[in-house]
Symmetry: D2
Subunit: 436 residues, 4 copies
């Protein structure tokens, strides 16, 4: 039975590129085969509960702008929110959603009450998931909003907060397991610092390493088969976040022996805040073998904070999907929209329209990327560019069979004077533009 929130809307359908219907897909066609796989299975879209149903439109200089019937504190508001959420998932036809504990249940007066409510809502979700066929891409714990976490959760100077956070994750992971989540995510929103002056960096990194190991140990105990993911971000809310970017997370995982256990959930906007392109972060995660999943929300390039906008630039997303496909595509991961409507986008329809635009951008980008890969338009020149390394002597250098002295002797003996070759960046960029 409809909640009525979206009026008389019928499910969003694929109508093709020529459609001008704002409530139709122009590119997202779930059953269309791309590289022999259904588009839906490639993209694995998820709608995030947080920004979509919980954020009220406030910003650092402004109060709430959205007025939703489910804004409120009780369990019945939480259920109404869930009703509308699953209604929207069905209207959009997305296969997954994702959530924080705080998004789905009101905070209780005690830890036990909060936990109880979480489990109650999980049961409510389980039923809705069965009814709608929508699955859970990942669950997570909000360890950053409540004032007890203001100085960090795992990295708090107070061990009681560490314990509280650990207990919270325990319940969230249990619930994610119950709902057959494909992944469990940790975002270190307050795992970082505001000022070094009151921070013991080494101690906090060790706390964080232990915390993550606790989570991995519990996962195995549970038999949870999803992937544990860390979501890198360089700053905001903290001045410095410990999970700065993919390279930083990799070093952290290596330090605490977790590089086989934990992968990364990469967000477009966070990559940009860290001074990278999104495709860099994806390609690096592939190279380091820790690619897990993505949050497809972009940043405004002129804003220095996390704007979490729906993706709308096809050429940019096409490069990202190119590297995702090159790495084998999503396994347990998917394309999550941790996007939020602009705070001026007040209408229920805006919620759908934002997702439709984002999904179409991704679908179009995926198709471009698949074709680019299939044609080997980038990979063939790349292969050629490094071809010299197939040479036996080059391989010997690379495998550690030559010393610096031996190499120097060869250079001198052969009077080596290597000549540079064109990098052809403009040509390659033009080639990409043939596909987008």
């Amino acid at each position: 039975m409809s909640t009525g929130f979206f009026g008389k809307l019928s499910p969003i359908r694929y109508e093709g590129a020529a459609s001008t219907n704002p409530l139709a897909y122009r590119f997202y066609n779930p059953d269309e085969l791309v590289l022999g796989k259904r588009m839906e299975e490639h993209l694995r879209f998820a709608v995030c509960y947080w920004h979509t149903f919980c954020w009220q439109g406030n910003d650092p200089f402004g109060a709430a702008t959205f007025e939703r019937p489910w804004f409120g504190d009780g369990m019945s508001a939480a259920r109404m929110k869930a009703d509308v959420a699953f209604e929207m998932f069905s209207l959009l036809g997305v296969p997954y959603f994702s959530f924080h504990d705080l998004d789905i249940r009101p905070e209780g007066d005690t830890f036990a009450e909060s936990a109880y409510r979480l489990h109650a809502m999980a049961d409510y979700f389980q039923q809705k998931m069965e009814e709608t066929g929508v699955g859970l891409l990942w669950g997570t714990a909000n360890l950053f909003s409540q004032r007890r976490f203001m100085t960090g959760a795992a990295t708090n100077p107070d061990p009681a907060v560490f314990a509280y956070a650990a207990a919270t994750v325990k319940h969230c992971l249990d619930v994610t397991h119950q709902l057959k989540g494909a992944n469990y995510v940790l975002w270190g929103g307050r795992e970082g610092y505001e000022t070094l002056l009151n921070t013991d960096l080494k101690r906090e990194l060790d706390q964080y390493g232990r915390f993550l190991n606790l989570v991995v140990e519990h996962k195995h105990k549970l038999g949870f088969t999803g992937t544990i993911l860390i979501e890198p971000k360089p700053q905001e809310p903290s001045k410095h976040q410990y999970d700065f970017d993919v390279a930083t997370v990799y070093g952290f995982l290596k330090r605490y022996g977790l590089e086989q256990e934990v992968k990364v959930n990469i967000e477009v906007g966070h990559a940009v805040l860290a001074g990278h392109t999104f495709e860099h972060e994806v390609a690096l995660a592939n190279a380091l073998d820790i690619f897990g999943s993505i949050d497809a929300n972009r940043n405004d390039y002129q804003s220095g904070w996390d704007t979490d906008q729906f993706p709308n630039n096809v050429p940019e997303m096409a490069l990202a999907y190119y590297y995702i496909l090159q790495g084998g595509g999503f396994n347990k991961g998917g394309t999550n929209f941790d996007s939020k409507l602009r705070r001026q986008s007040l209408d229920p329809e805006d919620l759908l329209i934002g997702h439709i635009g984002g999904m179409d951008t991704c679908a179009r980008a995926l198709k471009s990327a698949a074709k680019l890969l299939e044609d080997k338009s980038l990979s063939a020149p790349l292969e050629q560019r490094y071809a010299g390394w197939k040479d036996a002597e080059a391989q010997a250098m690379l495998k550690g069979e030559r010393s610096l002295e031996q190499i120097a002797a060869v250079v001198e003996a052969q009077n080596l004077n290597p000549q540079p070759r064109s990098g052809q960046q403009e040509l390659l960029e033009n080639i990409v533009n043939r596909y987008v």
Copy 2:
């Protein structure tokens, strides 16, 4: 015998804070004891050959502005440059200098000729070092200026360039060993990429890992006792540099088994370009046990490129030295000025004045930092802030003796509800201001 370049200048002396003599030190007093050690031994200043004697004042939109008698291509120009350089080291009274191979010898027509010239100049230096008592903080190879390195040295798609670079480093390390260098530095100026479209990230990282292992192996073969250092930088000249920041370098070292062998040389300006404070990079290197040495040149906060200016903000440098001292101070490392004069600073005196200002800034900062450390004004509240972790149960969590389930059980049983405590950032900032 004087070259006459600096006219009739006599050596720069310490005259105390009240001096208004632009050619005197107001704070740098080499023999003054700070925390029981001579200031000179704490700071271990080095003048870098590159910007000081080789840079001609050109920028992307402008030609050379400096006119030095030693600008030219032959070996006699190289010797004149060395004569003036050591004269300046003596005038300033700095204990160390640092150089790239390209700074000190003209490029030859062949690799062998370039190498021959390098060794010839090293012999010339050796004599000057004996005469003046000036030591070598570090040597390095310029693997980024010549067009053969335009696509990388160790990370070049062409193995011949890898070999050429390896052979170059062999000679540079040999010469650094001969001159009793305290360290050997690698800066990955072109180890990175301009566009991912023509780059195989994984392959290049592996090449780079091998290259660095070659260097370490040669070091041990030579019996060189200096430290091998990597200098992180996020970008420029490359769009993306593989040695982005301290955390990235740490992950790289872990990946290639080098974390016990290689440390970092951190530059203020590079830290800023990477989105960090300099003291963050120092503190992180301490935490990860890879702190080596520093380049003390700052960036202009409003410029998005590497401006390499002399340090002039005492409060900022004081925090950096605070973390350096807290980590035990420099061992083999030191305070190198990879600074360059502004291109409008044409006069010989400007060369001295830039260094005097930088050295005084550092000396004043060191004294502040030492006092701050001695008084435990920051460390005592820090110790107190984490005191809860001394508790046995907290230690058990940290040591891995508790599971997530056990922690959750305690949280629920004790109905834990940890209350936040003030982070006192403003108070701590005010305390620091008592010292600077």
Copy 3:
């Protein structure tokens, strides 16, 4: 009678640089003469009501952290807030405060009720001001927080919002006049856009120009003798703010004929967000004759948003006060702290400590700047540098008495080949460091 909020604190006193009392001034000594004027009259400190008493510690990822007894919606809470505020003004001994309408009175159900409450609180303030001797630096209207202003106030596509905003400013200006405010400020928090796609730039600029003229006309009608100020900011909350920086505001004022009527209130952090130094903005406002007042809160250089921190870097503030003094110092303007405590700084004492640190930083900076000015250490070389322009022929060029052809004829006739002279930046920076 004390509210008890600050416990048994006595007024903050000047104890001199050697004091280690966190609740004493080390540099701010109101009666000390600087350049023949009392320090208090130079600095004209103001505490802002907004961040200090109204902000609850929330950020985009976190809920409130502060718990103040006056948080609440009614008029009695508003009065308690005022009681504590004036208590704090007295404890600190600041001569001024500043406020937004929304800070001091709860929003009413109707415009009329809001206005009524504003006037009621103004009366309450008037009495407190008389009792304490604290004056009003400026008043302003909050035209950005409430959802009705989400798309702009003066620049709203809906003329009803323009009218609502105009009516709001009318009451705020009346009240500022009643309280003998030295200035009236407009901050264009939502005067800008989120996306050009729904924005008519030209139309909105015209609306804004008219709005500002309305304010100026009302000021003259009232006989208000304070200065009307605009506070530039490049972005946040809007993606683009119309009052981007000082140069942009100047062009706007010229366009709408207001350059004699309106001046700028420059905030340190806003200058940094716009890609400038603060001293640049001050110097430019002086050059354009529109300098009015300052907000002394700095930004974190590594954060891309407005962090509004208390100033703590003396060398930076010294340069700012140098240009302020050079322009003749404050006339009606002053040094306002639109700073906010870090959200982890929970304790009542933190409120005082933040202001003490900021005031001491400014006082120390002022003294440095005054000495620098008095000694002509910067101005004498500057005068010398441009001395060539005193020449009659140079003056003729500058006054428009020569044509391009005439100048070219002279250049050719004299075979002019001007030689560059050192800009001496390092020397000048070292000189500044003698004063800070």
Copy 4:
């Protein structure tokens, strides 16, 4: 007769979107009608001499990478460069080119010799232009590369440099007039400062204002009918450039009475460095009635300096052309590529490929923009959004026929409480994506 530089290449032809020929246009079809005008006349492409024929591939950390037969100092090298240049213009089929004096003639030993050479090359160009039909979009003087300009040209502390610069512009404008240039550009490469410490802002602005007036006066004397353009840039090479952005230039023009005489030449990358989108700068220039021409080279979003890359993102350029068309399209202005090849793009073909990609990006963007405009897909909702202002009372407010008091009275009388309406940003973004 061919120089042979480009081998046996034949002119680049339009082959349509399906072409995979890297040396063909896929979208640029000069004779295709767009909104009733030939594409060539809409876009008015120009190749810039500077980066394309003079830049040698050096960067702050690297020496030249390009090896061109015309690199050298004499007049015969200058003529060979011109021969290749016009050959390339013809191969590409571009209607315009643009140049700096320094690009086209070697610097002489005296001012007179430099001027003589400029005129000699202008004569050589004139003949080539007649032969090929290529026109001049604009000429300009390089007042930033030679060391005499290191401290500014018009804004130099030395009036002799002002005179030298003025004389230089005189000849450049004469030559631009001779070659029937459509515009004359001024770029203030060194009109700014490195440090405020040695800069008299007010004085320098006045010098600059006078200089620009001299140029305008000479233009009228000559009878030159082209537009005088200023090219805004916020920084680089100077730390601060006086022509920061469009808004700053507008204020400057107003201050010196030039807003009817001078327009702006907006560069994509400069807009980004100033913290804007390119389309913002175009739309603002339209609103202020100073839009002139564009440089279509983009910046890398992750680099903090001017990367001058060929445009390759169609959605971004489409928005720019949308605002250009909305303002009536180019009059005298055009689409100049001040782009440079990546320094690794060594081959002659790369020069063509870079331009082909850039031209195709612009052509495709233009077509999208034209359709978007024709369909009123953005302008109709925009019109609707501001429709309330057609109301008589709203118009009365806007025209200055109501006072603040009158407006307040109406707000209170009507108990006005305006309700916000959705800004529909996501919907509008989706609509744009239908066109790109």
